[in-house]
């Protein structure tokens, strides 16, 4: 049984705004990247799973329980890191996380014990006794992660966990998410609009756009090699493309690069010679891989419909 099941899940705000459009998907254990532009419906989807929002139509279940009917039971086993700031400034991390553990149903002593453990896990030490109001953004994100973990959830829903962090903070948070998901075996859904982050931590990708499922597949399938050679030159890309076309190769210009479809490796020499003949400054010659960005550039609505069906 999948951990999360959504069937024709639809959420409308008013008459015109459709946040989720008949979304149908299954989530199996792993670290799942939920990727989409801002406004694609990521947060709405997570909030419906938590029972924070009611779906307009369709159904969803988490851990086999219906989201509209069994909210409290589901939430005992789910940890949630909201996108925005959500911490009381006047409490210490220890007091707040202990309180949240009890709100998830842990007995008092167990909650205190686990709070100490998860705060150490996320890397908060002496500062955990000071009021949260004085924390940096990075420390606040760690407290938010700690409160999502304190009750040992079976499912972790993280909404933009690197929101507002500097590059070093992002690296640390992503490492923490990866560790939590991979080593401790908690299925984690990471919603993000940054494909690079998803690529680094996730094993499976769910791409949504305008409330519809665009693609659902293991990350590896998105980053396979393609039969395209990228030839990057300092200038003269147009001339190079024309020359390669004369030689009977399918070539097109993409910025400073010329993309050439190559079926066998002997063609590499032809490309190299063409660059030399034209006297161009060659910057890079590389075999192109699929990039996650291509998802949103190339996929058409018909593909999305096929995937969702």
């Amino acid at each position: 049984m999948p951990l999360i099941e959504a069937r024709a899940l639809t959420k409308r705000y008013g008459a015109h705004v459709i946040a989720l459009d008949a979304l149908t998907l299954d989530v199996e254990p792993g670290i799942i990247g939920l990727v989409g532009a801002n406004g694609a419906g990521k947060s709405t989807f997570l909030k419906i799973l938590l029972g924070l929002l009611e779906p307009t139509s369709g159904s969803a279940s988490v851990l086999g329980l219906d989201v509209t009917r069994d909210g409290p039971q589901i939430r005992q086993f789910v940890g949630y890191l909201p996108e925005h700031d959500s911490l009381p400034p006047d409490l210490s991390a220890t007091d707040f996380v202990t309180h949240m553990g009890r709100m998830a149903g842990l007995p008092a002593a167990a909650s205190r014990e686990r709070t100490a453990e998860v705060l150490r896990h996320v890397g908060l030490y002496e500062e955990r006794y000071r009021p949260i109001g004085g924390y940096s953004t990075g420390m606040k994100q760690r407290v938010k992660l700690a409160q999502a973990l304190v009750h040992d959830p079976k499912l972790l829903l993280l909404d933009e966990p690197t929101n507002g962090l500097d590059p070093a903070g992002r690296d640390e948070m992503l490492e923490l998410v990866k560790r939590t998901g991979a080593e401790f075996g908690i299925t984690t859904v990471v919603a993000s609009h940054l494909l690079g982050e998803i690529e680094r931590v996730c094993t499976f990708l769910l791409a949504i756009d305008a409330g519809k499922l665009l693609r659902a597949a293991p990350i590896a399938t998105f980053t396979e090699r393609t039969g395209t050679l990228g030839v990057e030159v300092e200038e003269g890309a147009d001339a190079l493309a024309a020359r390669l076309a004369e030689m009977g190769l399918a070539a097109r210009v993409d910025g400073h690069a010329v993309l050439v479809d190559v079926s066998d490796e002997s063609l590499y020499d032809l490309v190299r010679d063409a660059v030399v003949d034209l006297g161009l400054a060659l910057v890079r010659l590389e075999q192109r891989r699929h990039r996650l960005e291509d998802l949103f550039r190339d996929e058409t609505a018909t593909d999305a419909a096929n995937d969702a069906a």
């Binding site: 938590l50 029972g51 039971q73 086993f77 400034p89 006047d90 007995p107 401790f184």
Partner: protein
Amino acid sequence: MTPREPAVGTRQSATGAIYDLGYRGYDGPRLGRSAAVSTLFWWSLRAAYALKRSGRAKIVPWGLAALLLAPAGVSVAVAALAPSAPSPFSYDNFLWNTQTLLAIFVAAQAPELVSSDQRNHVLSLYFSHALERTDYALAKLGALAAAVFGLALAPMLVLFIGRILLAADVVKAFGNEIDRLPEVVGTPLIYAIPLAALSLAIAAYTPRRAYATGAIIAVFIVGAAIAGILGEEISSGPFQHASQLVNPVVPLDGTRTLLFGGFIADSPVEGTGFPLWVFGIEWLSITIVGTAVVLWRYQRVAA
């Protein structure tokens, strides 16, 4: 669920190598919704009294408690020193005469319980835990009512114990006073419930604490002022005394009179000449409408 083996290893961090016991699973009991609700109730009750909070946060609740206990203590002391002098306070009029302190308490502490959760978006964390929106609203309401009840009960108990201990025959006095225990406990309850419902209904609507406090005080001041002005404007006719129903604290004394009897001097209840059940109905209406408004608000507030 199968228990996970703890992953043990060392990890580098900014503070050096930390011996890391790793993440451990939890296989103990999960107490569910009722435990979450009771946790929130006690947490909020402690917040209302500012227990485990900074000294500054304690000023209002503890100061008001001192101001409430002082007249009760003085009243007992006077009775001890001059047994023949008429006591200024008894069970029937004590809370009526100190009602302003209770109003200040709810004005200050109702926002303490709910405004900060909204302003800091802590609601989205509460609502993603093992309780429903309705549970949150009722736990907060119950905690505030309990806090007002405790605050109002304390001086009543001082009067109660004072009257027993100061009597010539303590055993006989105990017998007499114990009969009035329902009034000693019931009167604070009559004051606490609608005060909590009314003030929380207002506080739930604004994340800004100062606005909420101002609005609650305004309801009590404006209510009393309108009642006073209308009382002067309409000096005769069938609506002559109806203005008193605009004052939100009058039904509190009216309901007390309805249940335990004994009109008191400073209260307008007797002067209106209304049947006492009118005040009982108004008391119920304030409680029900206030509670409904709080519940409605938390069904809709974004989280």
